[in-house]
């Protein structure tokens, strides 16, 4: 009964998201953004090893996909708490960890669905409209890309759930989340660039300091693992981080790519897990007034 209730909570979370009009509008907009940016970049000439993979607008996904995670997680706990429904829920036979685990599980499921949906619909439409050939290699790379994107966005989901556990108000949660998104997401590179330039006068793009500091940004790891660039944010760094152009570089085998970007992938996988655990603990320690 204990474990089963995790799924009851998860199922409710999924249903809540799926029947939320605002959420569905966001999903549609997101899919359209991914699709149109992919379509547009597909019409440029690419020197990349794979035309199809080169068409995927990773920059756009890297910047805007985190919003999905934020929307899914920012009011996960705070809404229940504020409405008092958490009080009622806790009087039923389930532990607190069931609640937070269920919520995370449900949100991750929706997240996975959205990412798979947007990537599949975009690429599928591209295949139909352009009539380009798709090979086994590309299918595998797209599959790996989907998984990496899922983990990347999960970082923001984890952060959003954590923030929603700590704040008192849904609006505060959203504000903090957007700040997090702007700082460690799209603007991290630009801010870092400016800060380094002001503090050290060094305007080169490849100092060791920058490389180390960039490691703090999830977008850096995502960018490096997928396309081999050190940053994909807005106005950030624009240099290649590796000889291999990420998992989209079909000149190298997938194994070679995975080995080359082992660290980035580990960070992408471990960070959401750590954030989930922190959110989990924060929720368990939380004082919920009856």
């Amino acid at each position: 009964m204990k474990g089963r209730n995790v799924f009851v909570i998860a199922q409710k979370e999924v249903a809540d998201h799926l029947q939320d009009t605002g959420f569905l509008v966001l999903l549609a907009i997101y899919t359209i953004i991914i699709f149109s940016s992919t379509y547009m970049s597909g019409s440029f000439v690419h020197q990349e090893s794979s035309m199809l993979l080169g068409s995927i607008n990773v920059k756009m996904i890297a910047m805007f996909a985190p919003l999905i995670g934020i929307v899914l997680g920012f009011d996960a706990v705070v809404r229940e708490q504020k409405s008092g429904s958490l009080n009622v829920l806790l009087t039923h036979p389930l532990f607190r960890d069931n609640i937070i685990a269920g919520k995370l599980l449900g949100s991750m499921l929706v997240l996975a669905a959205i990412i798979i949906f947007s990537v599949f619909v975009s690429i599928g439409t591209l295949l139909i409209f352009y009539g380009v050939e798709i090979g086994y290699t590309e299918i595998i790379r797209i599959f790996v890309f989907t998984i990496l994107t899922f983990f990347y966005v999960s970082i923001f989901l984890g952060a959003a759930v954590l923030i929603s556990t700590m704040v008192k108000d849904g609006t505060d949660s959203l504000t903090y989340n957007v700040v997090v998104w702007l700082f460690i997401g799209i603007l991290f590179g630009a801010i870092l660039k400016t800060a380094i330039a002001i503090l050290t006068g060094d305007i080169s793009n490849e100092s060791v300091l920058i490389t180390q500091l960039l490691n703090m940004a999830p977008i850096h790891h995502f960018a490096e693992a997928v396309v081999g660039r050190i940053d994909l944010g807005f106005g950030g760094f624009n240099s290649a981080g590796s000889v291999i152009g990420g998992i989209f570089d079909t000149e190298y085998t997938l194994t070679q790519c995975l080995i080359e970007f082992k660290m980035n992938i580990v960070v992408l996988v471990v960070t959401p897990a750590i954030l989930f655990i922190i959110a989990f603990i924060a929720f368990l320690r939380k004082d919920i007034t009856l």
């Binding site: 035309m51 068409s55 619909v121 352009y130 380009v132």
Partner: protein, 401 residues
């Protein structure tokens, strides 16, 4: 070309003479035997005639023997001598204990002004032991006789542009029953034209002399490069072939017509590996283009140029231009043809041309048919259906509350 006249009549005369002279010259006893199968021949004044002679040592003689050879009698101004393998000999030595024979040739050359008629030549074969054998050879000088050397060309007339070389194929036929050596010369050609005689086998070595076995023939190339400023018209080039021994010979006229109206032959040619390819949007294919120097001069800075078409990009996969391309040399250059993802299904033509400092090739066309991938489209439909099914599954499984 000489015209063979009265061949039959002369042939019959020749046979008659042979029949008359058939009995072998022999003495009552001699340590050697002289066998002559032919003792009469017809010859042109000034030409050379040869009589084959076989000398055998006696049947029962096992001692060493020798035989001296001499001309006993000949007409004034005639030259006659015995030859063995091309060297003039005056005597023969036979080793002991062997019944051996030796073949020699009596070569007779009447002066060029010898009147027609039959002339006798007496040869003496004097062995070391026994009687001297005298043998008569009859040479029938006939100014109407045919030279046994023939020259002809199957295509003695060709047409070209100024400065474009042409090659005539000429055949030389030896009708003698012995090997002849002849020198080849240009007897006549327009000024400042280049005429070369090239060996047929490789088209490269220049020849000045040719040696042809008895009753054999030989081909050679007469390469003629007309001068640049020559005016249109037909010009004769006469090739002279003279027999080394007699200095008399045959000639062949080759006619080269200069016509500025005919199209210039390309020195540089290109051959794309395939002239028509099918590609899916977004995909690429590498084709190999063969560049060849089909001229006879070295070409510098040879480069392949490709004219792009909308929707298709091409990359020449080589390090810039080829510094030098020798005549006859060819290079293969890979060219990548890439179709843009949004290219419409259509057939487009890519123009390619090789250029060098000296010459340009003709334009070659490669047809690129852009064909939408049906498998890609099916996979696309599959992906969309999959995505929708996933959504439906999640909504139906988790979406209700």
């Amino acid at each position: 070309m000489f015209i063979k006249q009265n061949f039959k009549k002369l042939g019959i005369a020749l046979i008659l003479i042979i029949l008359l002279t058939l009995p072998p010259a022999s003495a009552d006893w001699s340590s050697v035997t002289v066998i002559t199968s032919i003792t009469g021949k017809v010859v042109l004044p000034g030409d050379t005639v040869e009589f084959p002679i076989t000398i055998e040592k006696g049947h029962n003689n096992s001692d060493e023997a020798w035989c001296s050879l001499s001309i006993k009698d000949k007409s004034d101004g005639w030259s006659a001598g015995f030859y063995n393998d091309g060297d003039q000999v005056t005597g023969l030595t036979f080793p002991e204990d062997k019944n051996s024979s030796k073949k020699i040739t009596l070569r007779v050359k009447p002066p060029i002004n010898t009147p027609n008629g039959a002339y006798a030549i007496w040869a003496d074969f004097k062995p070391d032991d026994g009687d001297t054998i005298s043998q008569e050879f009859v040479v029938n000088v006939d100014s109407e006789a045919v030279l046994d050397l023939d020259i002809y060309s199957d295509m003695p007339g060709l047409e070209t542009r100024p400065n474009d070389p042409v090659e005539f194929y000429v055949t030389l036929e030896n009708d003698y029953d012995h090997r002849v050596t002849a020198s080849i010369n240009v007897a006549e050609k327009p000024d400042s034209w280049d005429v070369e005689f090239l060996e047929e086998g490789n088209g490269k070595y220049r020849i000045t002399k040719t040696s042809i076995a008895a009753n054999d023939k030989q081909n050679f190339i007469v390469k003629v490069r007309p001068s640049t400023n020559v005016s249109d018209g037909t010009y004769p080039v006469i090739v002279d072939v003279a027999l080394e021994n007699s200095q008399i010979g045959v000639s062949q006229q080759l006619d080269l017509t200069i016509n500025r109206g005919i199209e210039e032959e390309k020195m540089l040619t290109i051959f794309p590996e395939s002239k028509s390819i099918n590609l899916n949007p977004g995909s690429s294919r590498e084709i190999v283009v063969n560049l060849r120097n089909s001229g006879d001069r070295t070409l510098n800075n040879v480069e392949l140029k490709i004219q792009g078409v909308s929707g298709i990009t091409t990359f020449v996969r080589s390090f810039g231009a080829i510094d030098e391309l020798e005549p006859g040399e060819s290079r293969e250059i890979p060219v990548e043809i890439k179709v843009r993802a949004d290219a419409s299904p259509d057939t487009k033509e890519i123009l390619m041309r090789a250029v060098s400092d000296e010459a340009e090739s003709e334009d070659e066309r490669v047809e690129v048919s852009v064909v939408k991938s049906s498998s890609g489209g099916f996979i696309g439909i599959g992906m969309i259906i999959g995505a929708l099914l996933l959504l439906v599954f999640i909504v139906s499984k988790f979406g209700r509350r």
